[in-house]
Amino acid sequence: MKVKDRLVVVGNGMAGTACIEQILKYSPRFEITVFGDETHVNYNRILLSSVLAGEKASDEIVLNSLDWYRQNDIRLRLGVRVVDVDAATKTVTGDDGSVTSFDKLLIATGSTPLIPPMEGSQKKGVYVFRTLDDTRALLDCSRNGARAVVIGGGLLGLEAARGLQVQGCDVTVVHLMDRLMERQLDLAGGSHLKAKIECLGVKVLLEKDTVAILGEEKATGVRFRDGSELDADFVVIAAGIRPNTELARKAGLAVNRGILVNDHMETSNAEIFAVGECVEHKGICYGLVAPLLEQGKVLAATITGNKGPTYEGSVPAAKLKIMGMDVFSAGDFREETFGNDVVRYEDPALGIYKKLTLRDNKLVGVILVGDAADSHRYMDWLQEKADLSEHRRQLLFPAPGADKGLDVAEMSDNKVICGCHGVSKSSIVRAIRDRGLSTLSQLKECTRASTGCGSCTELCQHLLKAVAPQFEEEEKKALCQCVPHSEQQLREMVRSQRLRSVQQVLDIYGNGVGCEHCKPALSYMMDMVWCGGHVEDRSARFVNDRVHANIQRDGTFSVVPRIRGGVTSPGELRRIADVAEKYKVKMVKITGSQRIDLLGVRKSDLPKIWADLGMPSGQAYSKGVRMVKTCVGTDFCRFGVQDSIATGVELERRFENLFTPHKFKMAVVGCPRNCAEATVKDIGLVGQEGSWQVVVGGAAGKRVRKADVLVTVESTEQALQSAALFFQYYRENANYLERSYDFVERLGIERVRRETIYAPLAVQQGLRDRLRKSKAGSRDAWLEGDEPRTPTQFVQIHPMENLQ
């Protein structure tokens, strides 16, 4: 039996490991040893910014687990840095003193952060952003309010800045050039990006040359060439990368900026190979993942004796990974090059900027800011050098009525869809067909496509749609044209990006303006997601929630005091009567829900009426918790078997003053005769001999729907707890203006049960905790009568001088 060749791989990063995966596909002829100076298995370096932004945990970005190395008989030497190579004796020496022989050597040492010359860059509190350990160090020092200075306004610097800002830091990006991402963007694109970044709350300083890091031992600030200074608690340097070529030099390889390789990925030594960020091919060192994977494929063929495929260079392309901020750039976008045609589209209000550069009817460069949905199409045109004479009128927008699925149909089979994992169209199509996949999550699990940076998610969905007839599209109805994302997505964005005001959401994810549909919806979302800890913006609320009364057709308001459970007293009634007379209320009405309604009140009288009533708001004007309707129950009724009044009052106390996606009505009845109509309420408690039935999703409005039974429980406390679980679940998951009956029908009562009363205890506890937190932060809206939010909240302004 032939002894296997020994292959030593120096570097345990994405390029080297991806190349090993390709080598394994060819043959098992190698005994492989991998050295990695980091102590982690191979992870997705592109996603470090997501780890920093708290969108992913560090174990979620692992690409190859220890099991993978074991299963493939790869000897993994983690935490060992290779310090020497001897090409003559064919050995490598580790910093632990070990000497390892090889038959073939693969250098995949990547690159290190470039530290521009400046005084004091060795001080404590100066960081780089390259590895998982760097990320952890940054997370450790990014406490709330810490001042961070990020030197470098390229891709990496911006992603680091955004991550730190999400962690609560006060971040300033300092950039040497006159625009952000100058290697990818022109001036206009850079200024659109700058505006967006500043909207997020990250400060940007351009044309600032940092000459020194200030501070004794630890960084306390930076000084610029113009003499100005900026305070900082820590500094991150993200000013570019430098290929690691020392080993290659020691091995005597031809090295320029990077290790020189030819189209077969061979170096100047037939036994030594190189791949990744450390190599230079036709004068270019690539720092992005897709070209490195292409190189790995070619190299795998060459090194296993299947020499044939060639690497002919890649079109440089870059995509900024900041949630909701689309920036894409590829190719050569310079206008000044003779013979280049430029096609441009710009909408400053929406923050959209697109620029295509063409030469001889072929696309040579593209810049997309604010909307990068078409990046795949442009990338194809670039790579295939497609003749666009026929498309000249539809370059920026697809021809009207163009089939959405056409893009994927036109793609060649070997086209890589997922650049992060190198998954081609044909392997996705095969997986869908052979394994009968029908959802995106199945596809992700099966092929790993779209689990990387996520930029190919849409393409994967198109492929699923085209290939799998039973494809289920996940619900993605946009909230509004002003903010074209589903409410589910928006809730996630708001949470992960820590957005606390409606205007922030509109500025970052929308048109910056909003309308009467999305503003109240976003107001609700803010309050719900942050359990009341948001920045309340009354201008985004409907008038009823600005003045805490219900506007009537003549512009007057109605006042409904809270009478919990519909139980009042002669004293209270007398007060209501007095108030009605004093303010000449136009009508006093007992409503269908056991409320007393005072109609025809002027806005300026509202605070006085509330004070005179001395009762809390009944919230009859709000998308919120209304009063609980009750029957007489065991207190007086001959038939009552449960204490509906006490239970109803308690239910009301637990939920009152809270906002809900739509109005929320409840009732409690003491026996199945159902006198207070609990079975057509959003939540109803129906008393039975020895138990309560908790029913949800009932309706007696535009449509009539009998509520579904959520659960039957013995004790009153259990009934209230079950109601609370459903209440908070509805608050968190329903779309705005979706009544509980539509919500329950949309999800199905089985799913509602599974995710509330039958949910794991930790999930139940989470729902309860958030409800408790929201409740603790809520208060009677009518207290604003004494402490208005603005001096003119309830007043009509009279001019300070008279009309003559």
């Binding site: 913006d537 506007i551 512009g555 001088e801």
Partner: protein
């Protein structure tokens, strides 16, 4: 009250701070009611009464340069006064000039605002107007002059 350069009469109304950002306030001038909105970069004043069914526009939600009536969601361009959702109804708000002098909001003295009951406007669209209507370009709007 002072006379402006163009012969317009200006009335000092109230401190700027009386007008919170992106909200409206009703101002009573004699028998007339104006709605003054703070758009962030400027203040605009229009008649308060919605031509459709008389709703108080000052209580509406702003959508950029448009105001949405709180009663039936009729939408008006605050620069031109023109109804956005039902332009062919001819419904149009009277627009008044504003300016800020030493932190005091001043408004062009209104003349001829109909404050009597407005006749309800008939329009093909129901009470709730079309949701998405392309916005008209703003014709060189009269912006407030600073003194």
């Amino acid at each position: 009250m002072s006379s402006g350069e163009s012969g317009k009469k200006w009335l000092r109304v109230a401190d700027e701070r009386s007008f919170p950002i992106r909200e409206g306030r009703t101002v009573e001038i004699g028998s007339k009611h104006l709605a003054i909105f703070n758009l962030g970069n400027e203040l605009v004043a229009v008649q308060n009464r919605c031509p459709h069914r008389g709703g108080p526009l000052a209580e509406g939600i702003l959508s950029g340069n448009m105001i949405v009536c709180p009663l039936h969601a009729w939408k008006f361009d605050l620069q031109t006064g023109i109804s956005v959702n039902c332009p062919k109804s001819g419904a149009c708000l009277k627009v008044f000039e504003t300016r800020v002098e030493d932190g005091i909001v001043c408004v062009e003295v209104p003349t001829g605002v109909e404050d009597e009951e407005t006749t309800p406007i008939a329009c093909d669209s129901p009470d709730r107007p079309l949701r998405w209507v392309a916005r008209k370009p703003i014709a060189a709007a009269s912006s407030p002059q600073s003194p």
